[in-house]
């Protein structure tokens, strides 16, 4: 008995073709540009950007195992400096690079999201609203007890970020009006570290990217406006900034594809999922 007839083989081939046809369209989309590419993309800088960068990198690398994307933090200052010095392909910053930096390194900026910077306290802290003057007094170190603000009779522990932080730059400029930050403030090195510090310290106060806020920390209303995705989007919450990806000169190759991907429908979807407002 013939096991493999001509018709039988043709039928099998047809089945395989049909199967392939149904698989391929699922992968079609903005990620298609990466098909057949190989190489590496090195990304560093802004820590607010990291969730989006990681998710985008994961999706691209899953579809294209030949591409390696590394995502590091360091802060906006580090990102701008490293991309300028050619150490990475994309340097992220949570503030617009200054004219000086742009000119010095010949940077191209790509603003792909809007993000707020909100004050956070531990969820156990009853103080959930502050006026701008109270906030300034706390960060300047003039207001040192939670009691006067309606909380427990405990010392306020102020947390801040180092100077490389774009989150700090925006918060300092737009929330503190360039006011003093006390020398007694604790320093943490990323948005993630700020979140775990405040989540662990019932008497702490700090500031994080609105996209990073979750149940481990409680947002504090500033002059009556709670920092959320919606208030940032509507413009009611004023302490906001753009999230930038910067390249040295016009991006090319994989770097250009990656930035294109951030602006694609799928990229914008990721930006929204991670709690930011995508921009065109």
């Amino acid at each position: 008995m013939k096991a493999f007839t001509f018709q039988g083989i043709m039928f099998g081939v047809c089945l395989i073709v049909v199967a392939l046809l149904t698989i391929v369209p699922a992968g079609a989309g903005p990620i298609d540009g990466f098909k057949g590419q190989q190489g590496t993309i090195r990304i560093s800088g802004g820590t607010a950007h990291i969730p989006v960068m990681k998710e985008a990198a994961k999706r691209i690398m899953t579809e294209n195992p030949e591409i390696q994307i590394s995502v590091a933090g360091g802060g906006s200052g580090v990102g701008i400096k490293q991309v300028g010095e050619g150490l990475v392909d994309i340097g992220n910053s949570g503030r617009k690079p200054s004219d000086e930096e742009t000119a010095k390194y010949g940077l191209e900026h790509f603003k792909w999201a809007i993000d707020g910077v909100g004050v956070v306290v531990n969820p156990k802290n009853p103080v959930k609203t502050l006026s701008r003057d109270q906030l300034k007094a706390i960060f300047a170190g003039n207001e040192t007890s939670w009691r006067a603000l309606g909380g427990q009779d405990k010392m306020i522990n102020v947390y801040t970020r180092d100077k490389a932080s774009g989150t700090r730059a925006v918060f300092w400029k737009k929330a503190l009006d360039k006011g003093v930050i006390t020398a007694r403030a604790n320093f943490v090195v990323s948005n993630g570290a700020m979140k775990s510090a405040i989540g662990n310290d019932p008497y702490g106060i700090g500031y994080v990217s609105v996209g990073h806020m979750d149940a481990t920390v409680a947002p504090v209303a500033l002059d009556g406006v709670v920092p959320t995705l919606d208030t940032v989007k509507s413009g009611a919450y004023k302490v906001a900034r753009g999230l930038y990806s910067n390249t040295k000169g016009e991006p090319s190759g994989l770097t250009a594809l990656f930035i294109e991907y951030l602006f694609s429908t799928e990229g914008r979807q990721i930006v929204m999922e991670k709690g930011f407002i995508p921009v065109r």
């Binding site: 400096k81 405990k154 180092d162 604790n186 320093f187 943490v188 775990s196």
Partner: protein
Amino acid sequence: MNRENVARRLFLSAAILSASVTVLILGFMVVLALPLFKQGLFFEILSQPWLPDSSIFGIFPMIVGTASIALLSLVFGFPLSLGVSALASTFAPTRIGFLLKKTVQMMTGIPTVIYGFVGVFLLVPIVREMFGGGSGMCILAASAMLSVLIAPTMILFFSESFENVPKQHIDAVDALGGTPVQKFLYVILPGSWRGILTGVVLALGRAVGDTLIALMIAGNAVALPSSVLDSVRTLTSHIALIIAADFDSLEFKTIFACGILLYLLTTISVLVIRVLSSKTRGMP
């Protein structure tokens, strides 16, 4: 040229190379810090507070922070290490002592970031709740964690020097009917103080040089501390935090001052060990 000569030259050049790297690093830091020396700012930087808003970039608070964390970690770590090594090499039965030493050896391989994590999630909340004020990120928490990090260095050095005490001396105590405690206090300790000192100086060097533990749990505040519950920044954390500043700024150049200071501290401690061990050579 015979084989021995080749080998000698090979080893000599290796030695010269590794020694010159050490010297070159110092040279590199001095050259980069040259603008500070030229402007006469170097000593000002060492003695002033850190007030970036008034353009004063002094690292005095970081020096105090480093010194207090390192010294306090020795205060915690030294008795602990002395006890463990005495137990391991003298008091405990051989097999338990062996196990103890193997455990300590394993401890030396634990990355410091692990200690940092344990510190953040376990030690810091305890310190905060126990002592009331402050965030718990402070000298006390950092030095307690650091003492665990430097203990293995001391324990291994201590037990080695305990074991190097001449067997005859120990036998003599046993023959005279001395108790183990007497043996330890009157023979082993006096006979191995050099090793103890070396261990302490090395541990101190490690405490001064460690970055991650202080960066993660000392709080990194730039104010001058007034109690062990205050948050401080060490020289090493300062370098890690400032490295992102603008290359040309004075702020950035202060990290070379930190580097030179750390380098000198290490060199001095090595010299101290050398001098002490050569002076006492030949003594029992």
